[in-house]
């Protein structure tokens, strides 16, 4: 026999037309369900669990450090808020990075994107969950800080000072959300856990001093960096009460550092091969 015989035998085989589908198509998966599943996936592994514990513990340690070592004049809510915020600038972006990259590093994406083939929906759900968890974590950290402020001031015998305004608190939340989104962007762009985490550390800890160094010697960068250096623009948010010009700097640099690379990353992610 030859190849051709076997092939033509099938093609010519008498077969009644078969309906493609014998059951009714089910209802589409609602976005709320994907968000719920992604939230669960953020906590059901050891790394997710310990990341959450890590945030709580580091907020407690930061608060304790202020109580123990800060001079009495610095026992104010602002000091506690700043202290609990420091570990968050690293932990929240790492959480956001892992929520995306683990689908590739751990290869669970094979199942995830088979069950939800529109990858953009999964990524959107991850953004919603990451920001939600980020906001709750910051609020929890600020609550721990508030507790520290009460305890610290009574231990030091000074008046309890509440010097973080509501507007300051909201810009603080925004600053952390933007940080988290830088991590998320790197996760989407690189789709590799160690690579994205290293890139974030470089972005957050290596670039700012370099930029400052350059700005101190180069006039053109001193002027341009306001628009281009996202770290610098974010710093306004920690102080609160931004001017119109500062908002403009923030908007332009956020477009450059989050919106554009995230858009490129999403296009690549949706076209990429999940292996």
């Amino acid at each position: 026999m030859s190849t051709a015989t076997a092939t033509s035998a099938t093609r010519g085989a008498p077969s009644a037309p078969v309906p493609a589908r014998t059951r009714k198509a089910p209802a589409p998966i609602p976005m709320s369900r994907i968000v719920g599943v992604e939230l669960r996936k953020m906590f059901d592994t050891r790394s997710g669990f310990w990341l959450m514990i890590g945030m709580g513990v580091s907020a407690l340690l930061a608060t304790a450090a202020v109580v123990l070592w800060a001079p009495d004049s610095s026992i104010t809510y602002d000091s506690f808020g700043a202290a609990v915020g420091i570990p968050m600038t690293l932990l929240l972006p790492v959480m956001a990075i892992l929520s995306v990259t683990s689908e590739w590093s751990q290869r669970s994406g094979l199942t995830t994107f088979t069950l939800v083939p529109r990858r953009g929906r999964v990524i959107l759900a991850k953004v919603i969950v990451s920001i939600g968890v980020g906001v709750v974590s910051i609020l929890a950290a600020l609550a721990i800080g508030a507790l520290g402020n009460l305890v610290g001031s009574s231990l030091a015998g000074v008046d309890t000072v509440w010097d973080i305004s509501l507007s300051q608190m909201s810009t603080l939340l925004l600053a952390n959300a933007l940080n988290l989104m830088v991590g998320f962007m790197l996760g989407v762009l690189l789709r590799n856990s160690p690579g994205a985490i290293v890139a974030y550390v470089v972005y957050n800890f290596v670039l700012p001093p370099l930029s400052m160094l350059l700005a101190s010697s180069q006039d053109w960068w001193d002027r341009a960096s306001r628009w281009l250096d996202f770290n610098q623009a974010q710093a306004y948010l920690y102080d609160g009460d931004l001017t119109a010009a500062q908002w403009a700097h923030l908007g332009v640099s956020a477009t450059l550092w989050i919106v554009l690379p995230l858009a490129v990353g999403l296009v690549m992610l949706r076209r990429s091969e999940v292996k």
Binding site: M1, A6, T22, G36, T114
Partner: protein, 305 residues
């Protein structure tokens, strides 16, 4: 129902899938057969939208896979049993999948029973699973949504003989109830016992496809007699290809009817006359996929592992 239509996919200068077309029908088990690296997995990944195709398209249940409203309830997929978050327990992986599909968590427990994973095994992290346990978990994930179509890449990998038997019965049942089953393998024997239809792929191209009966019939006839020389000449005169097979019998490229008639006409009494079946199919498989075999094999078994 799965329809693959002129599908091609290449990677930098290497064609993984080359103009592949076939149909997997409801109520039948379709075996997708080919040596390692022939393009089976790539074809299956394209089917479920994990790999973009260069050209051609695939329809599952009459739609593009990405357009299925809730794929888990319609198509059960097992591509790589090891592709799971190693830090999740088996039960958690099934629960996450069940929730995505909108099924109650009790469905996960049901499936664990169905694939014979015990409660203590289900609560272990997948990192500590054997390949066979991962495979069972993967099959459980595929069956979770009670889908109409099953797409399984090498599902028997890592299963023990009892497990292979269990899976075979399960897939048979599935097809008998009207489901469409497509399963791949590089082992002919494994697929031969379960498949109704066969699609043989080598080097990214389909080299043969048809029902198992057609392909078995095409595999020829084994015939033996006390006077093989005369018989050999008779077939050659009739223009039928003959090869001498190992055990002193002749392998004739024709069906048993005409072979018997020719032997009678030649006046040679036969001692054996049977369809070449499995052995013939294997020869055919090795010949058809010869170009893409890593090992040049002329004897029976190719890659047994």
């Amino acid at each position: 129902m799965i329809t693959v239509d002129h599908l091609s996919k290449s990677y930098r200068g290497f064609t993984a899938v080359d103009d592949v077309s076939f149909t997997a029908r409801p109520g039948r088990v379709t075996g997708f057969l080919g040596p390692n690296g022939a393009g089976k997995s790539t074809t299956m990944r394209v089917m479920v939208g994990l790999t973009p195709a260069d050209s051609g398209h695939v329809e599952v249940l009459g739609r593009r896979y990405a357009d299925l409203p809730n794929p888990g309830l319609e198509v059960g997929v097992l591509l790589d049993a090891s592709a799971q978050h190693a830090g999740r327990t088996g039960r958690e992986i099934l629960t996450v999948a069940a929730r995505t599909m909108g099924l109650p968590a009790s469905r996960a427990t049901e499936m664990l029973r169905r694939v014979s994973l015990s409660d203590s095994e289900a609560d272990r992290r997948v990192r500590n699973y054997s390949l066979g346990m991962r495979q069972r978990l993967g099959i459980a994930t595929a069956l979770l949504g009670d889908p109409e179509v099953l797409i399984l890449d090498e599902p028997a990998n890592g299963l023990d003989p009892a497990g292979i038997r269990w899976m075979r019965d399960l897939l048979r049942d599935y097809a008998d109830q009207g489901g469409t089953v497509l399963l791949s393998s590089h082992l002919l024997h494994e697929i031969e016992v379960i498949a109704d239809d066969l699609v043989v792929i080598g080097n990214g191209r389909i080299v043969a496809q048809g029902t198992k009966q057609e392909l078995l019939a095409a595999a020829g006839t084994v015939v033996a007699s006390r006077d093989n020389g005369t018989l050999h000449a008779a077939f050659t005169d009739a223009g039928i290809a003959v090869t001498v097979s190992g055990s002193g019998a002749l392998h004739v490229d024709a069906e048993s009817g005409p072979v018997g008639e020719l032997a009678l006409a030649a006046g040679v009494p036969l001692t054996e006359l049977r369809s070449a079946d499995g052995a013939g199919l294997e020869e055919m498989f090795l010949r058809l996929t010869a170009e893409s075999q890593r090992d040049t094999t002329t004897t029976s078994e190719g890659e047994a592992a």
